[in-house]
Symmetry: C2
Subunit: 117 residues, 2 copies
């Protein structure tokens, strides 16, 4: 059994499943409604929904016959928590790059001043 | 060929690979150094490193014979960008829960006041 974070990340590692989550961010939807924009069969959509449900990223109503799907975004929070540790690394590299560009443009400015002299 | 974001997410969907990234966040390391804390073979670690390298999450020096691995955290930014759209959903549900708890505790206070009377 993979750990919950691995299950969530594996469920997200598919463009169709991410598109399904994006559609559900606008509100509940049935399997038929979810299948419409995709060129895949209903059983294929159902399989994707099962993966998302197992990862706790969507829930399906047991009551209504059409069993609408609903986004459960709370589980994405674990991904965000994991990611937050690494945020400083790309912030740092962004700052280094900004400092480098700044340095270059200042150097460029000096060149121009020299030419003008 | 999966899209870059799917490749990154699939690479992250493994606890050993996430542990390798955590180790590399402390600095460069060789395959031998990376393999030490895990109860898996060197070839297994090498396979994990290949997955991480393909996802652009690590780079390996071509120069040194021991080819140290280095964290490339910038690619995690795409995951963060994707996630940022969904942040409002768990923020909202957290706020709703906080409001509900607040409501409950106020109700509880009223009950106690009634009993005291």
């Amino acid at each position: 059994m993979p750990d919950p974070l691995s299950t969530t990340l594996a469920a997200l590692a598919d463009p169709t499943r991410r598109a399904i989550l994006a559609r559900l961010s606008e509100g509940e939807a049935t399997v038929n409604e979810l299948a419409k924009p995709f060129e895949i069969s209903l059983p294929a959509v159902s399989r994707h929904l099962k993966v998302l449900e197992r990862a706790g990223l969507i829930s399906r109503s047991r009551e209504a016959q059409w069993r609408p799907c609903k986004l459960q975004a709370q589980n994405l929070r674990a991904v965000d928590d994991w990611l937050s540790f690494y945020r400083r690394f790309w912030d740092e590299s962004f700052e280094r790059m900004a400092a480098y560009i700044n340095e270059l443009s200042q150097g460029d400015g000096d060149e121009r001043t020299k030419k003008r002299r």
